[in-house]
Amino acid sequence: MNAVPLFVAIPLGAAFLIPLFGLWWKKSGEVLATLSTLVLAVMAISSIGAPAVTHHMGGWAPPVGIALVSDGLAILLLIAVNVIGFLCLVYSLKYMQVYSGLPKYYSLFMLMVAGMNGVVVSGDLFNLYVFLEIASIASYALVAFGVEADELEAGFKYLVLGSVASVMILFAVGTVYAVTGTLNMADAAREISTRFGGPEMNPALLLAAALFLMGFSLKAALVPFHAWLPDAHPSAPAPISAMLSGVVIKSLGVYAICRVFFHVFGFMPGVTSSVILANIMIWFSVLSIVFGGLLAVGQWDLKRLLAYSSVGQIGYVMLGIGVGARVLATGGPRSLAGLAILGGLFHLLNHAAFKSLLFLASGAIQQATGTRDMKQMGGLKERMPITAMTTNIAALSIAGVPPFAGFWSKLIIIFAAVKAGLLVVSFIAIAMAFVTLVYYVKLQREVLFGTVRGAVENAREVPALMYVPLIILAIFCVGFGLLYPVLGYRILEPARDALLNGAEYIKLVLG
C-alpha cells in the first residue's frame, strides 16, 4: 500500500475532527493529536531507506492528475517534520495546560503539520502553494495564540510579511504556468529544459525565479527577509517556537528552494542565470550568518537570542545548498556539489534537533522561572539539572564543538566552500561559528552556571512529559555526530542524490 497521501490526510483529518469532537469531549485535542502525530512519526521513520515513489491521486496520471512524490529529499523532511512534531506535541500536553482554547491549539497544530507534509510531498507547484498557505496561516494564528499585545503584534507582522511572500510565490506559480502551460513540477522542468533550453533566455521565467527566491527566502527567514522571525518565534508558545524554528522555516523555505530551483529550473553548467541565482543564494546566506550571529550576541531575552540564532544557522544550511548549486552551475565536479549539499542537508537535520531542543528548554525555563530575561537568571543547573544538561548538549552542538553533530555539518559546509574556491565566504563562516560559540557561552554562563539567583531561586524541574522530549532530542544531538554512517547512508545521501539528479525526478514522476 502506498502511504504517501496519509502524511497529508491524517493530520488534515485530525485538524478537522479535533474541534468537532471538542464540542462535547474536552480531551479530544490531546488524544487525537497525540495519536495522529505518533502514527505520522512512526510512518516517517519506517520510510527511511524506502525507494522513491509517486502516488497518483485518484489514479489520474500526471501531468493532468495530482501527483504526490516521496523521494529521498522528501523523506528527509518528512522525518524531520513528523518526529519533531510528535516530540513538540508530547511537550505541549503539559506545557499548554495553562492556556485556554486547547482544541483550537491542537487543531491548528495539526493543520500546520498537514501543510508542511503537503508542501514536502506535493508534486505540483499549485499544491505546493496551497499547502504552504495552510501551514503559514496556521502558524500566524499559533504565533498570536497567547493573545497578549506582544503576541498579537508579532503575529500581525508575521502575517503581513508572510502574505507578501505568499503573493510573490503565487505570482511566480502563475508565471511558470503561463510560460510552460503546466503546473506539475516534473513536467515544467522538462518543458523548461527542452523547450527553452534552460531558464536563461526567457525573461518571464527569470522573473518567476526571482519571485520564488524572494518568497521562499522570506519563509526561510534569510536576511534581508528575516525581520518577522525575531518577533514571531519568541512570541509563540514554546512548542510552536520549536516547530517554527525547527522545521517550519526549513520545509516552507529551504525545502521549497531546493525543490523548485534544483528540480524545476535546474542548475545547468554554463548557464549564466544559474550561476547568478546560486551566487545570490550564497550572498543571502552569508548575510544571514553574519547578521543573525551578531544580533544574537546582543540579546538578553532567551527566546529572542535563540530566534536570531535560527537566522544565522539557516544561513549555514543555505550556504551548503548555495555552494552546491554554484558548483553545479559553474560545471565543477559533481562530487563536490554533492559534498556541499550534503553538508547543508546535514545541518538542516541537526538544526531541527538542537534548535527545537533549545526552544523547548526555553519554554521549560520560562514556565519554571516566570521570565525570559537572562539577566534575572543564574545557576539553573542546580535547580533544573535535566533541562540544564540537555541545553548544554544542544548549545555545544550548535556552537560546533566536536564530537557533537553541529561540528560535522559545519565542517563539511566549510570544507566544501574552501574546495569550491570561496575563500572569503568560508572564513566568514568560520569566524561566525566562533561568534555562535560566544553567544551560546553567554547563554550557558548567564542561565545555567553561576550562583542560583533571581527568578531561579524557586524553580523546579519540569514534569517528565516535558523533559523526556528534551532528552530524546539531546540523544539526537549526540547520535547524529557519532553515528554518521548509519544516518548518512540511510537518510542524507538519498536526499543529496535526489537533489543532484534532476532528470531522475522527472523520470520518477512522469514515468
Binding site: K157, L207, A227, V297, G298, A399, I414, F427
Partner: protein, 630 residues
C-alpha cells in the same frame, strides 16, 4: 586493538563509566579512574621507544570526503603522552583526597579522564583535522571543568572566558587548516613541509601559532588563565593550564616551527619577542597578586615565555632548552598548584594575607613547595635552572652567529628569573613562615593521597636537575635529533661542556655543608631571648595584630613611577584581548540592533529592496548576456 589507541580509548570509556556510577556510591569512581589512568600510563611507557607506530583508518566518510583517523607515534609524541598520563595519574590520586562531598565527583572524574584521552589524541594526531577535533574537544572539557569550582560565579566567569578565548584560537587554527588544505590538498602532518616565506604561508603559520600559544598561555592571549584560576578547582589548574596545556601548546608550537613549517629569522624574532614580553609582563603581574592561585597562574604564563623564547631561537640547544623547560615547568608548576590545593584544603583559603606559619604544621607541603619554588626561580641544582641555562646558552650562541640584539632577550630572561624568585620569596614567607594566625591553629598536614603526588613531583624537580643528563638523553635528544631534526640547523651538543649539573650539585652541597658549619659555629655564641615589648605592655603570644603578611611585599614596584600607570591599566584589563574584542563587538552589535526598530514598514521595505536586488541582478545579467550575443 592497536597499542597506540589505548591511551585514548581506555580513559575515554572509563570517563563514560564514571558518569554512570550513581552519585551516592563511593570509591567505585576513584577505582575506575585510577585503574584507567594507570593502565594508560603503563601503556605509554611501553610505547616509549617503540616509534614509529602509525595507525590509519577512515574515520568518517562523507560521500567521497573522508576524514582519516591518522595517528603517529614518534619520538616527540611518545615523550609527551608519557607525561600527560603521568600528570593525569598524579592528579587523579591527589583528587581522591582533595574532593569533598560537596563536589560533583561524577563529572569531575569523567572530565579528568576525558582530558587525558583528548590530550593523548591531540598529541598523537598525524592529521591536522584530527588534531583540531581533539584540541576543540579539550577546550570544551576545560569549560566544564573550570565551572565545577565551588565559588560559582567566579568559576562560571573563568570558564566562559576560557571557552571564548580558546574558541577564538581554535577558529584561527581552523582557518589555517582550511588554507593548508586548499593549497597542499593534504592534512597529513608528516607529509607537510612548508617554507613560511610568502604572505599566504606566513598567515597559515601565524594562525596556527595563535592556536598553540593561546593553549600554552603566552601573551597577548594569556588572560584566560588568571580568570580560570579565580574559580577553578585547584587540581584542575594543576592539571590543565599548569601542565597538560603547556605540554600541548609548546608541543604544537615546536612541531609547527621546526617540523611542519620552516620559519625564517623574521618569524623567529616574532616568537622571541612574544617570549620576552611574556616573561616580563606576567612576572610583574605575579608580584602584586594576593591570591595564591592567581599568583601561580601568572607564573604559569611567565614561564611560557622561556619556552617560546627557546623554540624561537632556532638554535638546537635553545630549542632543547625550550622543550626541556616545558617539561620542567609542567612538573614544578603542577607541584606548586598541588601545594596550593593542599593549603586550601586544610585552611579553606588561598588568600595570602590570611595564611602564615604553616611550615611546622604542613612540613611535606612546605618542603615540596620550597623545592618547586626554587626550581621555578631557576636556582641550581633544580631542574628549572638547567633548562633556563640551556635557553640562555641558545641566546648567547645566537649572538655569536651575528644576531646582535640577543642581549636584550638575555637580560629580559635573566631579569624575569630574578623577579620570579622575588615573587616566590613572598609566597614562601607569607604562606609557610612567619607567625601563624590564630584561625589556623589546628591545621594539619594533608593525607597521603595528596602528599604522594607532591613528593613525586618535587623529587622529579631534583632528579631532573641533578641528573639532567638522563631526561635530556632520554627525552629531549631524540626529539631534537629525531622527530624534528630535519629542519634544525647545525649539530647539537647539549651543553654538557657548559654546565655539568651533577658535578655542580656536588660543589653546591659542599658549599651548603660549609655554610652549615659556619652557621653552627655562629650559634654557639650566646644569645639573649626575651618577650616583645611594645608601648609599655607585653603582647600575648600569637596575637594576630602582630602578624605581618607578605601580601604587600612588592607594592613599591606597583607604585614605581612609570610602572604604576601600566599596573593600573592592566588591573582594569585594558590590555586584555578578551575585553577589547568584547567592546568592539558590542559597538557593532548595538549598531545592528538599532536597525531593527520593530516598525513593520521598515521590515516590509527591506523585503521589497531585497526582491528588487534579486530582479535587478538577474535581469541586468540577462541584458548583458543578450547584448554580448548580438
Amino acid at each position: 586493538m592497536s597499542q597506540i589507541l589505548i591511551p585514548i580509548v581506555i580513559p575515554a570509556i572509563a570517563g563514560g563509566l564514571c558518569l554512570l556510577v550513581p552519585r551516592r556510591v563511593k570509591y567505585v569512581r576513584e577505582v575506575i579512574s585510577l585503574a584507567a589512568l594507570a593502565w594508560a600510563f603503563v601503556a605509554t611507557l611501553r610505547l616509549f621507544g617503540a616509534w614509529p607506530i602509525s595507525y590509519l583508518k577512515d574515520w568518517v566518510v562523507f560521500g567521497d570526503f573522508a576524514i582519516q583517523f591518522d595517528l603517529l607515534l614518534n619520538q616527540f609524541s611518545s615523550f609527551i603522552i608519557v607525561f600527560v598520563t603521568l600528570f593525569g595519574l598524579a592528579i587523579g590520586l591527589y583528587s581522591t583526597s582533595w574532593l569533598s562531598q560537596k563536589h560533583d565527583g561524577r563529572r569531575y572524574y569523567a572530565l579528568l579522564l576525558w582530558t587525558v584521552a583528548a590530550s593523548c589524541g591531540a598529541v598523537l594526531a598525524n592529521n591536522l583535522l584530527v588534531l583540531l577535533i581533539f584540541w576543540e574537544a579539550l577546550t570544551a572539557i576545560l569549560f566544564f571543568y573550570v565551572s565545577l569550582g565551588r565559588k560559582k560565579d567566579e568559576a562560571a566567569d573563568g570558564a566562559a572566558k576560557s571557552f571564548v578565548m580558546l574558541g577564538l584560537s581554535d577558529a584561527a587554527m581552523f582557518i589555517a587548516i582550511a588554507l593548508i588544505w586548499m593549497k597542499y590538498r593534504t592534512l597529513t602532518m608528516s607529509e607537510l613541509s612548508i617554507f613560511a616565506g610568502s604572505g599566504l604561508t606566513v598567515t597559515m603559520y601565524l594562525l596556527m601559532m595563535v592556536g598553540a600559544i593561546t593553549k600554552a598561555g603566552a601573551m597577548p592571549f594569556h588572560t584566560w588563565i588568571p580568570a580560570a584560576a579565580k574559580g577553578a578547582p585547584t587540581p584542575v589548574m594543576a592539571l590543565l593550564p599548569a601542565s597538560i596545556d603547556k605540554l600541548l601548546g609548546i608541543y604544537l608550537l615546536a612541531r609547527l616551527s621546526l617540523d611542519i613549517f620552516s620559519i625564517g629569522p623574521g618569524l623567529s624574532l616574532v616568537l622571541m619577542i612574544i617570549g620576552a614580553v611574556t616573561i616580563l609582563g606576567a612576572v610583574l603581574m605575579a608580584l602584586i597578586q594576593h591570591d595564591l592561585k592567581v599568583l601561580l597562574s601568572y607564573h604559569a604564563i611567565s614561564q611560557v615565555g622561556y619556552m617560546v623564547l627557546g623554540v624561537g631561537t632556532g638554535i638546537p640547544i635553545g630549542i632543547a632548552g625550550g622543550i626541556f623547560h616545558m617539561l620542567n615547568h609542567a612538573i614544578y608548576k603542577a607541584c606548586l598548584f598541588l601545594c596550593a590545593g593542599s593549603v586550601e584544603k586544610q585552611t579553606g583559603t588561598t588568600e595570602i594575607s590570611k595564611l602564615g606559619g604553616l611550615a611546622r604544621a604542613m612540613p611535606i607541603t612546605f618542603a615540596a613547595c620550597a623545592i618547586a619554588a626554587f626550581a621555578i626561580s631557576g636556582i641550581p641544582p633544580f631542574n628549572g635552572y638547567v633548562s633556563k641555562w640551556m635557553v640562555y646558552t641558545g641566546l648567547v650562541e645566537l649572538g655569536a652567529r651575528g644576531f646582535s640584539a640577543y642581549w636584550i632577550f638575555l637580560i629580559a630572561a635573566l631579569f624575569g628569573s630574578a623577579l620570579t624568585l622575588a615573587s616566590f620569596v613572598k609566597v614562601l614567607y607569607s604562606g609557610f613562615l612567619g607567625q601563624r594566625p590564630s584561625a589556623l591553629a589546628r591545621v594539619k598536614e594533608s593525607s597521603w593521597a595528596m602528599t604522594i603526588p607532591m613528593i613525586v613531583l618535587a623529587a622529579l624537580c631534583i632528579i631532573f636537575g641533578v641528573w639532567a643528563k638522563f631526561p635530556i638523553d632520554r627525552f629531549i635528544n631524540p626529539v631534537v635529533h629525531g622527530a624534528i631534526g630535519t629542519s634544525v640547523r647545525g649539530s647539537i651538543d647539549l651543553g654538557i661542556g657548559y654546565w655539568d649539573p651533577t658535578v655542580a650539585t656536588g660543589l653546591i652541597i659542599v658549599g651548603i655543608i660549609f655554610g652549615l658549619v659556619v652557621f653552627t659555629v655562629g650559634r654557639t655564641v650566646k644569645r639573649r631571648t626575651g618577650r616583645i615589648f611594645i608601648g609599655g605592655t607585653v603582647p600575648p603570644d600569637n596575637m594576630d595584630s602582630m602578624h605581618v603578611t607578605g601580601a604587600g611585599f612588592y607594592n613599591t614596584i606597583r607604585e614605581t613611577k612609570g610602572l604604576s600607570g601600566l599596573f593600573a591599566n592592566a588591573e582594569q584589563r585594558v590590555f586584555d584581548v578578551y575585553e577589547i574584542g568584547g567592546r568592539m563587538g558590542n559597538v557593532v552589535v548595538q549598531g545592528l540592533r538599532a536597525l531593527h526598530d520593530g516598525v513593520l514598514s521598515t521590515y516590509l521595505a527591506w523585503s521589497v529592496i531585497g526582491l528588487g536586488a534579486i530582479v535587478f541582478v538577474l535581469l541586468s545579467a540577462l541584458v548583458r548576456e543578450l547584448a554580448s550575443r548580438q
